[in-house]
């Protein structure tokens, strides 16, 4: 069949296909994209599972992520060390969760993690404020930001502890049907 270099063994591709929402061809295409980011760092041959991580600064230069205000948080959420250094497995995981075929529950879990800046398993007022600032990019004044966050907290916080647990977040997401179609990155 020609001089084709194998990037992955068959078992690896099977494992990827089982654990993500991608097909074999898409996995190989993703590997191409991953390698593009740091060709000197990422080997072509992944059959022995090399432990390579690409730093955050290179990942956010991807065109799919470049314009996204949450790009840093997204990459940090999917990295194992929490600093944004993605191995290829993390990379594939990230795009798998954000793809169209991924179910609502999975997207909700990861959206919660993304919006939870201080990683305490609650979305508190400061997390909301950071989100609002990122979305409006400095077009609102500090009082307006606080007002918006208070209103959002009021709407979402059911048990009155001034922070949103995962159940509160899930409840609010279920009322926004656009969320599923918006929370998706095509690669």
């Amino acid at each position: 069949m020609g001089n084709k270099q194998t990037t992955f063994t068959d078992e690896q591709l099977e494992a990827f296909q089982d654990c993500t929402f991608f097909t074999r061809k898409e996995i190989q295409r993703l590997h191409g994209r991953y390698r593009e980011l740091a060709p000197h760092l990422v080997p072509l041959d992944y059959t022995n599972n090399p432990d390579i991580r690409i730093p955050l600064a290179l990942i956010v230069t991807m065109p799919e992520l470049k314009e996204n205000p949450f790009r840093d948080r997204i990459v940090e959420t999917f990295s194992e060390d929490g600093q944004g250094n993605l191995s290829f497995n993390d990379f594939v995981d990230m795009f798998s969760v954000l793809c169209e075929a991924s179910p609502r529950e999975l997207k909700t879990i990861y959206a919660f993690k993304i919006y939870d800046y201080n990683r305490d398993n609650f979305i508190c007022k400061e997390d909301l404020q950071q989100t609002v600032v990122k979305l409006t990019k400095g077009e609102l004044t500090a009082e307006e930001v606080t007002l918006v966050c208070e209103k959002a907290m009021e709407e979402a916080d059911l048990d009155g502890d001034q922070k949103l647990a995962f159940a509160d977040f899930e409840n609010m997401i279920s009322k926004a049907p656009d969320f599923l179609s918006n929370f998706h990155i095509r690669i």
């Binding site: 470049k66 979305l135 959002a152 709407e155 997401i173 009322k175």
Partner: protein, 544 residues
């Protein structure tokens, strides 16, 4: 043997490549449009493609079951010697086309002999009927599924502040689009160009184009007045403003169609000899002129607005792609096609061409001239709203018109597949009589006599459906109440939790030596249970 295997493998890989390239083409399209302009603009193009599928199906069905038997039976159209094909027929639909299989009038009413005996009357009637029913079912299912996926509990707490967090469209990748998301200026274009008919037309032919021209002109101008009024009126919410605008536009188009249909059913049907073909031609002209106006609208609404907005009056800015107006236009175009299927079976072919060209023109115009709409919300509900709009006023209206024509109006006596009958529906009666006399399928006769013709059946069905609807309604009301109760329960649990935590803290403060040296962490739930039991015990003791 090995050659066959190789051919099969090659063929299979070729098919895979083709289907993958189609998929990539579709997904490239979506990523191009969705990435730059957001999901609401993308939903317009997806909707246009979906409507195109309806027309492709309709064309295949009509051509296969109605036109091909007619062509096999009588290949050459009976064109009188005086008319010949001049290119103008494309614009007016009359003339040479009148005698071809394009219109109702050229279909025969006999049983076509051949390999199979094909009853043209039954074929025509049932093809149209089955197509309309299938369309209706497809629309109902599409509406139901998108409603189910996007059902939002009508709740006052789903307010504006939270929408902010859920509204960012992660698939937008274009930098300019992202920046222009906050741009909130719009250009209203108020000039309209008039087309000049050149002197090649005879006056009568020019007159036939006047009605479609006026209709399209009204459809273009009056909504601009509505937008103007909209600016001066005060509304309690933004959403209500959009609903009122859309409702006015829908009413306008329905009134225009209503007047036209009244004219066709009451005046044309009684005055002309082959009136179905006349109505078919009128619809053809409407479809064609509407297409011209859509192209002109795209040119002036988008291209010239862009030029005006960027060069001449920079204050106005780049025009937005008005999704609602464009969707309404294609819904109206599809309604014309649905009404026209009965009178002109090959109208779907024209519609396919129209939508195909429109898709690419709109896409090019979008890329070159427009910016993304500033209100980026609610794309998922838009699909439900579009389909509901398509179905309720427009499809049901078209179905009503065709149904009324088939039921009450006398078919013309000298042309078409139903000539000589009292009404189109009597075709089925005649067929039943034939089956009865020749001893045909008894099941069909039984079903016809006792189910379709009996009133008791419809009465019973209506009662049963009403009862089922009532039961489902009660169930959903009950569930709504349950949701309110459960929500109250969550609030109460939260209050209980904070109360018990306070109690725990007080307890710990008053008895500090309970804590063990190695700080064994006691689970909060078990502590709460312990405190609750102590509380209950205290109350019990107080009661006695």
């Amino acid at each position: 043997m090995s050659i066959n295997k190789n051919t099969i493998l090659c063929y299979r890989s070729y098919c895979l490549n083709v289907s993958q390239s189609f998929r990539r083409c579709g997904s490239n399209l979506r990523s191009e449009i969705g990435g730059k302009f957001g999901t609401s603009v993308q939903s317009y193009f997806v909707f246009l493609k979906w409507l195109l599928m309806f027309n492709v199906f309709s064309f295949l069905v009509n051509f296969g079951f109605i036109t091909i038997p007619q062509l096999v039976y009588d290949f050459s159209p009976n064109v009188p010697n005086t008319t010949s094909f001049r290119g103008l027929e494309i614009l007016t639909g009359a003339g040479y086309f009148n005698y071809t299989v394009m219109y109702y009038g050229s279909y025969s009413n006999e049983t076509l002999e051949g390999a199979v005996d094909y009853k043209m009357q039954l074929g025509y009637f049932f093809t149209i009927a089955v197509y309309m029913v299938l369309c209706g079912i497809a629309l109902i299912f599409s509406m139901a599924s998108s409603f189910k996926a996007n059902y939002v509990l009508a709740d006052t707490t789903s307010g504006g502040a939270w929408q902010l967090l859920c509204s960012w469209d992660f698939s937008m990748t274009n930098e300019r689009a992202v920046r222009q998301r906050k741009n909130n200026l719009r250009v209203h274009f108020t000039q309209i160009n008039k087309t000049h008919l050149n002197g090649l037309f005879s006056l009568h032919e020019a007159e036939t184009l006047l009605v479609p021209f006026m209709v399209s002109l009204m459809n273009m101008v009056v909504p601009l007045f509505f937008s103007l009024f909209n600016k001066f009126e005060h509304y309690s919410s933004q959403r209500r403003q959009i609903y009122v605008l859309v409702a006015r536009n829908v009413l306008l188009r329905m009134c225009i169609l209503g007047v036209l249909c009244y004219y066709w059913m009451n005046v044309v049907a009684t005055e002309y000899s082959c009136w179905e073909s006349v109505v078919g031609q009128a619809l053809y002209r409407l479809v064609f002129v509407d297409f011209i106006f859509l192209l002109l609208g795209s040119f002036f609404g988008e291209f010239l607005s862009n030029v005006v907005g960027t060069r001449l009056l920079p204050r106005l800015g780049i025009p937005e792609f008005d999704v609602a107006r464009n969707v309404l236009e294609i819904i109206y175009a599809q309604t014309l096609a649905w009404i026209g299927i009965y009178f002109s079976p090959l109208l779907p072919a024209i519609q396919i061409l129209k939508f195909f060209i429109l898709f690419y023109i709109k896409k090019v115009s979008l890329m070159q001239n427009c910016q993304p709409p500033r209100r980026t919300g609610r794309a998922a509900q838009m699909k439900t709203i579009f389909t509901a709009l398509l179905f309720f006023p427009f499809f049901l209206g078209a179905l009503a018109i065709v149904g009324y024509t088939a039921w009450s109006l006398t078919p013309s006596k000298h042309c078409g597949p139903f000539r000589g009958l009292d009404s189109t529906f009597s075709v089925v009666e005649v067929w039943m009589v034939q089956l009865n006399s020749t001893g045909g399928s008894e099941v069909v006769i039984f079903v016809y006599q006792n189910v379709i013709r009996s009133e008791i059946f419809y009465f019973l069905i209506t009662i049963i459906i009403l009862v089922i609807v009532y039961i489902f309604w009660q169930v959903s009301q009950g569930r709504k109440q349950l949701i309110v109760l459960l929500r109250q329960q969550i609030v109460n649990e939260g209050k209980d939790k904070s109360f018990l935590l306070e109690k725990l803290q007080n307890l710990q403060k008053s008895q500090p030596n309970i804590r063990s040296k190695n700080h064994k962490k006691v689970g909060i739930p078990s502590l709460l249970a312990m405190l609750a039991r102590q509380q209950a015990q205290n109350e019990y003791d107080d009661g006695y």
